[in-house]
Amino acid sequence: MNSIRRSLVTMLVAAFTLVSFVAALNGYRASMDKAEALLDAQLQYSAEILVGLGASESSGQTLGGGVEGFVFQIWDGEHPVLRSAAAPESPVTAFEEGYRYANFDGFRWRTLTVSMGGQRWGMVAERADVRHTLAESVVLESVIPLLLWLPVAALLIWVLVGWGLAPLRELSAQINRKASDDLAPLDYADPPTELQQVISSTNGLLLRLAAALQREKHFASHAAHELRTPISALKIHLHNLESEVPAGSSALQHANEGIERMHHLVEQLLDLARTQPELITANFHTTDLHTLAQRVTAELWPAFEARQQSLSLQGEPATMQGDETMLAILIRNLLDNARKYTPAGGEITVFAGYRDGTPTLEVADSGPGIPSSERQRVFERFYRVGARAGEDVSGAGLGLAITQHIVQLHGAQVQLADSPLGSGLAVVVRFPNTAVSV
């Protein structure tokens, strides 16, 4: 019972059934007692009529006909004066006034003895089973509807519980409707008491989250300035230093490489912060994926040429809704990864166009690839595949985490597959066909 509604309805229907059925049972008992009393009164009435009829009789007469399940006798001392045809010849009950039960003719009877004055006694008897069946059939008329109407009660409870839970559903819908970057407090006018605490706690959480994200956003923008500026200054100083130290100094070369790595790491950290779907508001425009890929590959071409790697672009113009800056970062990251992990002289292909009718970007390389068991984890921040990490490749393991951010931002899907170029890796990003609203 994971659903509150189902659980509540089940418990309520069970409680209602239990209470109403037990009450019906008590009602049945009380009604049966009442019906018995009524039938006794009717027996009394019959006895009184009999007293009137038999007062003057003096000989042992038997009356024919009669009602089934009803007998009477009039006794004068121990001599029968009058009796119904179905009545036995012996007294049906004791010569003493009052109600009793007696057994004769194979049935159980309810009997009544009345004194008619002197030694005269009137006795009337009704079959107990006939009385019980009659009383029960009347009483059951009030019990059976309770059983028949139970499904209606259950349905009503279902509907009413549904109404009662409507505020919860409304709150849930409101939270669901919120965009990923909407951290405004929940707007719920006049909430029920039970939800006030939930709304208050959620709004408090949203407020703290908004403040934390704002701080992170500020950090990203401030850090961009604070980190880039000293790195640029260091680069200039190292460039100036080149003229002051002997040519080919290994110390200077190490310093340059270190600065480059730091520059790359800072840029990636900033990209990571900038591309977080929770932090940014994407600026979506109609963009041609192929043209964008063409521009980025052209920009990065010298780096590939330096490693004697072949880089080719395939595909056709593919129009889609996207943030051009973010998409450029995505393509650059994928190309950077491919370049770094593909050995010198290797091959890298880029496809930007339509595949199965959807805008698709694929970057495939002829490098060592990634084992399928590790493909999910490479999207984690700072995760580097074991085999690749040992290679002489610089990087912090942030490239694919940034890629994942941008993919999420565009509502796209990323897949790591085997490269068509051999043992390498193919990263395939499929964008949605329609315009993306964020």
Binding site: M11, A14, A15, L18, Y28, T133, S137, V143, I144
Partner: protein, 260 residues
Amino acid sequence: MFLNSVVIVLREVLEAAVLVSALLALARTVHLGQRWLWLALPLAAIGVALYASFLAVITDALDGAGQEVLNASLQAGVYLLLLPILVLACSAEGRRQWLTLLMTLAITCAIVRECAEIHIYVRAFAALGEHAAAVWAGSALGMGIGISAGVLVYGALRAVPQRWALPACCATLALIGAGMIMQATMLLEQVDWLPDQAPLWDSSTLLSEQSFVGELLYAVLGYEATPGPLQVSLYVGCLLLAGIALWWGSTGRAKHAVLD
């Protein structure tokens, strides 16, 4: 006829419903899910159908004591299945398939035992045309009360705080199991398979077995207003055995925790 129907059906349904509820609550507490119940129900339906089909053969068997002996065996079977269930439920994770199988069998036995009685009673008396309405209405009322009480017992066991949920479910099952042995003893006494003994006490004036509370206690604790010495001894013995099973299971859990 109406009241008779209510009492007979209520007594049987209540017992099965409380057992099913306690096992469902236990399954939920040990994160076993409820799918196994969907296997138990058709198995029980087949069992009831077979029981009803071979009723004449069963009744005539063992010099006319067949039905009582079979019913007592089913009840004893439920108790014997509950013992390993208690051990496994209290022990550490694992052997879930065994727990599922045992719970399925326990519910099947209990439902076959209880529902076969109802089936036989309703079929016999509903055939008497003039009483059909009273029999059906009484059966429906008894069934409604029994199932509702079972659902509420489940709700109550679910409402127990997490820390006490497992002990509460296990204690309920131990009591139900001991109660079943008590009823089995009574059945065997009826057919003289066990000696009929003078009752140790008579609490019918304090709490009648026919009252709703009496019926509920009969279903949960095996309440008997006039129990004999053998019944009481077996009841206490079964409770002790269930206690040992719980202790054994808990010790296994503790050992597992130490090994972890």
